[in-house]
Symmetry: C2
Subunit: 334 residues, 2 copies
C-alpha cells in the first residue's frame, strides 16, 4: 500500500511513462479502501489511453506454458515496434503476490527491456471482481504507452472467465492430451477462445498434440463463431523448438488487423464495460440485501422447509421479498 498520493501524481507519472508511478497506480486501483478508491476514480477519469491498443487474454491450464508463450509473442511484437504490458492474474491463488519473481524468471526478456512492463495483478477479488481491477490496470498500462496488453490467467474458474472478458482477443493455451486438460478447465472457456494454441507440441508430445488438435477441430465445428468475420483457429506450437510460434504470431496479427479494420473494437469494449457494470450491480445487491443477518437467518429457515417439502421454492422467495419490502416490516424484522 503506497502512502496517499494525489491523482495528479499518478496521471503525470503515467503520461511520462514512469514505471514506478504506473506500478503504484495499479496497486491503487486494486485497493478496496474508500480513500484509495476516491483517488483511483479521479485517476481513471484523468487519463486518456489511446484507442489503437490491443488486449490479449492468454488463458489455459497451469503448466501449459502460457508465460513462455507470452515471452515469445511479446518479443515479436516488440520487434514490430510495439510496447508490451503483461498482467498476470491469478484469482485462484491467494499467494501469488510472490509470483512476481516467478513471472520475471518465466519472462526474462520481457522483464528486462524498457519496451515491456510485467506485473502480477491482484489475487484478492475486489468487490468489483478481478475483471474490474484488471480492466482498470489495462487502461493504466495503455495510458503509459504500452499498446499491446497481455492478460495471463488460469482458466479454471468463473473469476478467470470474467477476467478474460476484458480482452479483444482470447488465446487459449492447451497441451497434448487436451481431453484430460480440458477436464480441469471451466466449462465455456473453449466457447470464448478466438485462437487455441496447443503448446509443447515437440518431441514425445507431438503425437498427443496432434490428437488434441484434431479432436478440438471436430468440437469447434459444433460451436458458434466467437465474432463476425473470424473462424476459430487451432495451432500447434512449441516455445522450445519455436515451431509454430511465427504462425501463431501471424494469426494473432491477422485477427488484430481485422478487428481494428472492422471498427468494432470500441463497441466491443463498451459492451464489456456495460456487462461488468451489470455484474457488479447484481453482486452488490445480493451482497447488500442477502448479506443482512436477519435475511440470512430467514433464508436458512426457509431452506430447511424447502428441503422437507413444506414450502415451495418460489413461495419461499416471495416470502423473503415480502419481508424485505413490506413497509411495516422494513425497519423492524429486517
Amino acid at each position: 500500500m503506497p502512502e496517499q498520493l494525489p491523482a495528479s501524481y499518478f496521471i503525470e507519472g503515467i503520461e511520462r511513462g514512469d514505471r514506478v508511478a504506473l506500478g503504484r497506480a495499479i496497486t491503487l486501483v486494486e485497493s478496496d479502501l474508500a480513500r484509495d478508491r476516491h483517488v483511483a476514480r479521479e485517476l481513471l477519469a484523468g487519463i486518456r489511453p489511446p484507442q489503437n491498443t490491443f488486449r490479449i487474454a492468454v488463458t489455459g491450464v497451469p503448466g501449459a506454458g502460457k508465460s513462455s508463450l507470452i515471452e515469445s509473442l511479446g518479443q515479436r511484437f516488440i520487434r514490430d515496434n510495439h510496447r508490451i504490458a503483461v498482467l498476470a492474474v491469478d484469482p485462484s491463488s491467494h499467494l501469488s503476490g510472490g509470483s512476481i519473481l516467478g513471472d520475471k524468471t518465466r519472462m526474462p526478456f520481457l522483464s528486462s527491456v524498457d519496451a515491456a512492463f510485467v506485473r502480477p495483478s491482484p489475487t484478492r477479488g475486489r468487490l468489483g471482481g478481478v475483471a474490474e481491477s484488471t480492466a482498470e490496470a489495462i487502461r493504466l498500462c495503455e495510458a503509459a504507452g504500452f499498446d499491446i496488453v497481455f492478460v495471463e490467467t488460469v482458466g479454471v474458474g468463473q473469476a478467470e472467465i470474467d477476467a478474460v472478458d476484458v480482452a479483444d482477443l482470447v488465446l487459449l493455451v492447451l497441451i497434448g492430451g487436451a481431453g484430460d486438460e480440458l477436464q480441469g478447465m471451466k466449462r465455456g472457456i473453449l466457447e470464448i477462445a478466438d485462437i487455441v494454441a496447443i503448446n509443447k507440441a515437440d518431441g514425445p508430445n507431438s503425437e498427443s498434440a496432434e490428437l488434441a488438435r484434431s479432436t478440438l477441430q471436430s468440437i469447434i465445428r459444433l460451436m458458434p463463431e466467437t465474432r463476425p468475420n473470424w473462424n476459430r483457429r487451432i495451432l500447434k506450437c512449441s516455445t522450445v523448438t519455436t515451431d509454430g510460434i511465427d504462425d501463431l504470431f501471424d494469426c494473432i496479427a491477422t485477427f488484430r488487423e481485422r478487428v481494428l479494420a472492422s471498427g468494432h473494437l470500441p463497441d466491443n469494449r463498451s459492451k464489456q464495460r456495460l456487462r461488468r457494470f451489470h455484474q457488479s450491480l447484481i453482486a452488490s445487491l445480493e451482497n447488500e440485501i442477502l448479506g443482512k443477518p436477519a435475511v440470512k437467518a430467514l433464508v436458512e429457515r426457509l431452506a430447511i422447509q424447502i428441503q422437507d417439502g413444506s414450502v415451495e421454492p418460489q413461495d419461499a422467495a416471495q416470502e423473503v421479498l415480502t419481508r424485505l419490502f413490506a413497509p411495516e416490516s422494513k425497519n423492524t424484522d429486517v
Copy 2:
C-alpha cells in the same frame, strides 16, 4: 382458468387419480394470480407424492422426434407396470397452448390409455419461471399415481435448461449431422445430458447418425461426468424401424436402478429445489429493485457515462447502491 375450487377438491381428486382434477390442479399451479397461488400453496402442501418416482427430461432440437421417442419409451414402461405422465414444456413458443392436439396426435398410444397422462405445460413463464411450475406439475402427477414423469422440452434457451433441472435423468435427443444440430442448442445442454439418443438413425440418415455418434463420443470424453457412478452414454435409435429403442430403454432402466439404489435421489431433488429458490430470489430482487422507474433512469444515465469512459463500471454500480440504501435518499430519489 377453472372456477375457484378449494384445495381439498384437488387433493382428494388427485389422491383418487381423477384426471380432471389433476388437469385443473396443473392449470392452478401454472397461474400467477394471487388467489390461485394461495390455493396452490395449500394444495402442494397437502399432497404426499411417493418417493420412488422417476423424472426424465427429454430435450433436443425441434424435429428430433422427441415425442415419438417418448411414445415408444412410455409403452415399454407401461409394459413393466409403470404409469406415465408426459409434460410437454415449450417456453419458447407462446402458441403451444394449442399443441395439446399436436401432442395427442404425436403420442396416440399414451394419449389413449389410462396408464398415461399427456399434458402440455405452460408457455407463459410464471414469475418463478417455467422450471418452477413444471416441478410443481410433476409432483401433482406423482401424487396422482404416475410414477414415471417425462418432461419434454426444446433445448434452445435458458428457460429450457432450467426446465431440465427438475429431472432425475436428462435425455438429449439429436439427429444426424449433430454438428449443425448442436449449433441451434443452448450451450451447456450437452454437459448436462446423462444419455444422448441420436434418433432417426435409419435409411439414408444412418451414415450421418454414425458420424454424429463418433463426433459426440470424442466431445464427451472431454467433459466431466454428470453424476458419480455414471458414464454418459450415446446411443443411435430409430422410432421408425424401432432399432435401438430397446437398448435405449434398457440404458434408462439401468440409470434409474443405479440412481434409486444409490439413495442420492432425494438429495439431488432437494438440491434442485434449493437452486430454484435461489434463482427465484435473485430474479425477484432484480425485478423488484432494478425495475423501479427511478432506478431504471439512473442506470440508463450511468450506462451512457460508462460507455464514454467518464465513469468506471464498479463506481457506477456503487452509486446505484448508495442511492438505494443511503437513508436520506431512500424515500426521495428512489
